[in-house]
């Protein structure tokens, strides 16, 4: 008469258990589906009927009501096919009621096969929490196996799901997740020359500072940016799972052992693709995929202003709020931004070999376009000149692993502060020790270099990081001097 199977819905990136309740009784063959389903969920009726029949079971010719509880969470996609089918079979008495003691998720094919669906990782988390086994199609099972303590059972057909749930057969172990690709692996040792930019990258990594790279085309800005995840400290287990959850919410599996993610959205991407959104249930965007990692904005000048405005607040707060018809969700986006831009429209201002062909008026326009509140988010700016012909053939620099060691030591030195150096408030900075000579240099810089209040704080944050890299307790004059050279213009 009645059966309930547990499945999962995502609210933001957080999995939330959904009880799929099925009641069979009386009346004619009518199939009702209630509990805020979207179109794809409503189509489940047809798939479930066909899959049940093709798997050799009888489909009840009575009044059938399926409720997805809690009703106020919107449900999307085809992932509820499998739990609905299991519920229908149990409620109609076709199989023993024991099949419902699982967490299940998967789309059904008409012939009874089970296909992957979004939410595998969430199912793993819910199953681990509930202490039940979870039945998942191959792709989703791989994702769920990332969750420690989750009892993952891979199923390929509805009939197999029934036998696995009843413990009649030994489950097949799930396959491993294919490594997520953030682009080609790069190592700092491949970077030739660029001593100043390398140092800036190291400081940015140690303090988590947002970094702006300015240089002509072909100088190696993108290469440097791609090296950043490789010198950041590896993610902790909790952070790694958080990243995997964010990726899973976007329908992408991500392996546990992956380092900090690196995302490089194109400047033609829509706001929804970058900050998250989409019709129906909101899906995380690039910003959330870069959570705990690096968001790289190449050709910053090409990004439309509304996109940069949309990035500003989330990057500051570490959370992005997305509201869609009836739902408002919050995605995490604790990212370190790296942006690259040409120094002028033609890209060759200040180049050693190629003359710049821009008019001063054109350069002024370009500078104005790039300035403003968004650029204020960058603590650091560094020029990346094109290499001299001889340098390309020259020796590479230090490898990422060595730099990563120093960055980790600096982070250890900074442990115990309320936040990463990037997010230290003025009050935090005031309470950190600073030598008089360092303050004196900052004060004369305020006068001579027209440093603003915000510029003053930024220089102090970066100086703190330089001191951390040296393992110094208090900020010295030389730290401030270096930080001032790495400051962002304006």
């Amino acid at each position: 008469m009645f059966a309930a199977v547990t499945s999962v819905a995502l609210v933001g990136i957080d999995p939330c258990p959904v009880r799929v309740e099925v009641h069979v009784g009386g009346g004619q063959g009518i199939f009702h589906l209630v509990g805020l389903p979207d179109t794809a969920v409503r189509e489940a009726k047809e798939r479930v009927r066909a899959a049940v029949l093709c798997s050799g079971y009888r489909f009840p010719a009575r009044r059938l009501t399926v409720n997805l509880a809690p009703a106020e969470i919107p449900k999307a996609g085809s992932a509820y096919d499998l739990p609905i089918a299991l519920g229908v079979l149990a409620a109609s008495g076709a199989v023993p009621p024991g099949v419902t003691g699982v967490v299940a998720l998967g789309e059904l094919a008409l012939d009874g096969g089970v296909r992957s669906a979004r939410g595998g990782l969430g199912a793993g988390l819910v199953a681990a929490e509930a202490g039940r086994p979870c039945l998942l199609p191959p792709g989703s099972a791989a994702e769920a196996s990332l969750v420690r303590g989750a009892e993952v059972r891979m199923v390929r057909t509805l009939a197999e799901a029934v036998s696995v749930a009843l413990g009649e057969v030994e489950p097949v172990p799930p396959p491993a997740v294919a490594p997520a690709s953030d682009g080609p692996a790069v190592d700092l040792s491949w970077v030739r020359g660029q001593a100043v930019a390398r140092r800036a990258l190291e400081v940015a990594a140690a303090g988590g500072h947002h970094l702006l790279l300015v240089g002509p085309p072909g100088a190696g800005k993108t290469m440097l940016a791609r090296c950043l995840p490789g010198i950041l400290p590896p993610l902790s287990a909790d952070e790694s799972l958080e990243v995997a959850r964010a990726w899973a919410a976007a329908g992408r599996p991500r392996p546990h052992q992956g380092g900090p993610p690196f995302r490089s959205p194109h400047h033609t991407a829509t706001p929804a693709a970058i900050v998250g959104g989409g019709s129906g249930v909101p899906v995380p965007g690039e910003l959330t995929l870069a959570h705990r990692g690096v968001l790289f904005l190449d050709e910053l000048g090409e990004f439309p202003p509304y996109l940069l405005d949309a990035l500003r607040q989330p990057v500051e707060e570490g959370w992005v709020h997305v509201a869609r018809k009836g739902v408002s969700v919050r995605f995490p986006c604790d990212v370190q931004m790296v942006a690259a831009t040409n120094p002028c429209p033609c890209g060759y201002a200040g180049d050693r070999l190629v003359a710049c062909t821009c008019s001063p008026a054109g350069m002024e326009r370009y500078r104005r376009r790039l300035s403003g509140p968004f650029l204020d988010r960058f603590d650091m700016q560094v020029a990346v000149p094109r290499l001299e012909p001889g340098e390309l053939a020259g020796p590479g620099g230090e490898a990422s692993a060595a730099v990563r060691g120093r960055v980790a030591a600096a982070r250890a030195c900074a442990a115990g502060r309320p936040a990463l150096n990037r997010s230290l408030s003025r009050g935090d900075l005031d309470s950190l020790p600073c030598e008089p000579a360092a303050t004196a240099l900052l004060r004369s810089a305020t006068e001579r270099l027209a440093l603003t209040g915000r510029g003053w704080d930024r220089a102090r944050r970066v100086a703190r990081t330089v001191a951390d890299l040296e393992g110094a307790d208090s900020v010295k004059e030389s730290h401030v001097a270096e930080a001032l050279s790495l400051r962002a213009a304006g």
Binding site: A195, A349, R352, A355, A383, L486
Partner: protein
């Protein structure tokens, strides 16, 4: 021909060539004004309205703007300009216009960094040598030449293609203030309120050349204001210097053509000062502004390694054998001391 009528005619703001032709045809400024008033000479409506202004009103307006009218062959009007055919009958000047001829430094508005750095270096050298530096306050090379004079604390003269109360381009207002504060002058032949229209600039260039004993063309394309100035200088019998540039660069072609046609090539600021000494007499030896800032040994080495046109920090660090960290720290100290500045990805000597 009374000064009042000459001033009233200047306030009409007609094209200088037209004013000169009208005066030549009709005999005097008074008869031209009468002809304009009677409608016998067709002029734009604003010129007709200006012609009806009383001389007192014109003088009041100039006094309010702290602008002095200088009459050709009169007191304060530089003789080396007034003696030239086609010189403006009335000059309007703010600040104090030097009586002796100076050096004109001109170049294209679409200057490359090469030209910008050179213009500034030459402006600094000539200003430091004590000669007045004349230029047009335009974007690009002109403004850099003026900045160089300001750096050296010398006297700069800006000749404008608009009214004495109009600053064009507007972003050079502060520079203009710096010039005036250091005893320089702003000169124009156009009445107050005149907008900077394109046709007003070529006649302005004859004044730039006329106020100078020599014209230095820093960077110029084959056509443009800088070559008009050089042409005017040749007509007026001024000496023309040109800075050679890349033969394939469009904005150096004008300079290279001038050299081919007999202009003196200039290789560096010392070379220019030496050549000019022969024309203008030896520089009056103004001591350079003493560097009061004490900097460490390594900073001095880094400073010495910087070319005038600037270099990336990497290059300066490599030239001195410093690490990137040291170079970054030293650079900040130099910048705070006012000995270098950053522009784009380059570090340049000077403020």
């Amino acid at each position: 021909m009374s000064e009042d009528d000459r001033l009233r005619l200047a306030f009409c703001g007609l094209h200088p060539d037209r004013t000169a032709r009208l005066v030549a045809d009709m005999g005097s400024a008074s008869t031209v004004l009468a002809a304009i008033a009677a409608g016998r000479v067709k002029v734009p409506p604003e010129a007709r309205r200006a012609a009806a202004l009383a001389a007192g009103a014109c003088r009041d307006r100039l006094a309010r703007l702290k602008v002095a009218p200088l009459f050709r062959h009169g007191a304060g009007y530089p003789a080396h300009l007034g003696d030239l055919p086609g010189a403006p009958d009335v000059l309007l000047a703010r600040g104090s216009l030097p009586a002796r001829p100076g050096v004109a430094i001109v170049g294209t508005r679409r200057c490359t960094r090469y030209g910008l750095a050179l213009a500034r270096a030459y402006g600094r050298a000539c200003g430091g040598a004590g000669w007045p530096v004349v230029s047009g306050l335009a974007r690009g090379a002109d403004a850099q030449a003026h900045r160089g004079v300001v750096d050296a604390g010398g006297v700069g003269v800006a000749v404008m293609g608009c009214g004495p109360d109009v600053v064009y381009p507007p972003e050079h207002r502060a520079l203009l203030g710096d010039l005036l504060a250091r005893g320089g002058a702003v000169v124009t032949e156009y009445p107050p309120g005149t907008r900077p229209e394109p046709w007003r600039f070529p006649p302005r260039n004859r004044i730039i050349a006329g106020l100078a004993a020599a014209v230095v063309v820093v960077e110029a394309a084959e056509t443009g204001g800088a070559l008009i100035t050089a042409g005017a200088a040749l007509e007026q019998g001024r000496h023309v210097f040109a800075v050679p540039g890349d033969v394939e660069r469009e904005t150096s072609r004008g300079c290279n053509l001038l050299i081919r046609d007999g202009a003196t090539p200039v290789l560096d600021p010392e070379d220019l000062v030496a050549s000019l000494s022969l024309l203008l007499g030896p520089p009056p030896k103004v001591p350079p502004p003493p560097s009061t800032v004490e900097v460490e040994e390594s900073a001095r080495a880094l400073l010495a390694a910087l070319p005038a046109a600037g270099a990336p920090i990497e290059d300066a660090a490599a030239a001195t054998g410093m690490s990137a960290r040291e170079a970054l720290a030293v650079l900040s100290r130099l910048e705070v001391a006012g000995l270098v500045r950053r522009e784009g990805g380059l570090v340049l000597p000077g403020r």
